[in-house]
Symmetry: C2
Subunit: 230 residues, 2 copies
């Protein structure tokens, strides 16, 4: 399966890395059939018309659109110090189902900058692996304050466990909603951050009785969001 965005807008060639993979690695030639997904729900059956390893062109034989879900899962997560853990989160969340991922730099974040291109590659690989046609949107890293003010979602939750916070995401997340769940860094959110999130309409929720690592918390939130809609 290949990934090529923009087919519905008229793009009829694979990008250089997919072209190379198709022609050089898999040794496909003119007239052979391939399957392509566009990252926005489109599945295509196509036939190779030019087997150029730098720009393989194709014509469309058939197209199908995956059914749009009636809910939207946005996970906002503080990047982990160890990038492998964040990449792992992206892979697993893509498998389980996530529409949008935001990277949020918090006061206690050890990692304050990051590039999203490796994360996008992980998401593309996971999408292909699971035979999906939807690629999650991965937003560039943003400062906590700017993020919480600007995010669009009808239900906004901030994951935080304390004794005065008995609400669980599993208990309160309504099905068929557009939700955003914010997961803190290894050193957790600061009191100031919790307060300002609260002022901006974010609800504190628990993800369960266990202490979880950042990337595990992100995945658990993503899985709960899918389960309440199942």
């Amino acid at each position: 399966m290949f990934y090529q965005p923009g087919i519905a807008q008229g793009v009829l060639h694979l990008d250089p890395s997919e072209s190379r993979h198709c022609i050089k690695v898999l040794r496909k030639g003119v007239g052979e059939k391939i399957h392509i997904v566009d990252g926005t729900g489109g599945f295509y059956q196509a036939e190779i018309t030019n087997d150029d390893p730098k720009q393989c062109t194709f014509k469309i034989l058939g197209a199908d659109q995956s059914t749009k879900r009636n809910y939207y899962v946005h996970i906002a997560i503080a990047p982990t110090k160890n990038m492998d853990r964040l990449e792992w989160f992206i892979e697993k969340a893509t498998e389980i189902g996530v529409d949008e991922v935001s990277l949020v730099i918090c006061q206690n974040s050890e990692r304050r900058t990051l590039k999203t291109d490796r994360l996008e590659k992980k998401a593309i690989a996971a999408m292909k692996q699971c035979l999906k046609a939807e690629l999650p949107e991965i937003n560039p890293a943003l400062d906590f304050k700017r993020f919480i003010q600007n995010v669009k979602a009808s239900h906004k939750y901030i994951a935080y466990v304390d004794s005065e916070n008995p609400k669980t995401l599993y208990g309160i997340l309504p099905p068929a909603s557009h939700s955003c769940i914010l997961i803190g860094p290894e050193g957790d959110f600061s009191k100031e951050e919790l307060l300002s999130a609260n002022e901006q309409g974010w609800t504190k929720v628990s993800l369960g009785p266990n202490r979880l690592r950042t990337e595990t918390a992100g995945l658990v939130a993503c899985h709960i969001s899918n389960l309440v809609n199942s």
Copy 2:
């Protein structure tokens, strides 16, 4: 936090690797206080009585026992070809909560042997990280046929998706039960395996609408088992 099994049975020293970590790495000395968990729910406050880096001894100052859960989660999983993926599963399942993990060699398993010591180390590290006192039991690899005949659980499920199988684990797993959920290898279960599991009283279940990798399916099953009890 240190890990030392057998404290309730009279063991009052750390094993060589924990002793070395305590005395050489963390430079603890006689009279200093440490926290120890025993892997079966016991938390101990202890004081070092001999700071031997090969066998650090201690006396117990206080003990606490974690509350026993009224359900039991046993995940049986075909080892992945890539060991990192299986280790990742162990780490995350320990964080989320699993009582027992079995490794099951199936007809389509690419990996047919494995050592469990690295998995145990991952589980111990995850237990400490999450400040838990319970270590999951990790059973040595067993052939599919022998495994399905001998496992003890009141509810036995085999994860498999087909169009004739609309039951989801989330929909049918009863709370407060002792369950075992079996997850197949990359190439899935064979028809023969599904048939014999069915004859032995295993129920086919789906883990959701998505195609998941083996280790992701294992974790999803583990999380569902905890959620239905939350």
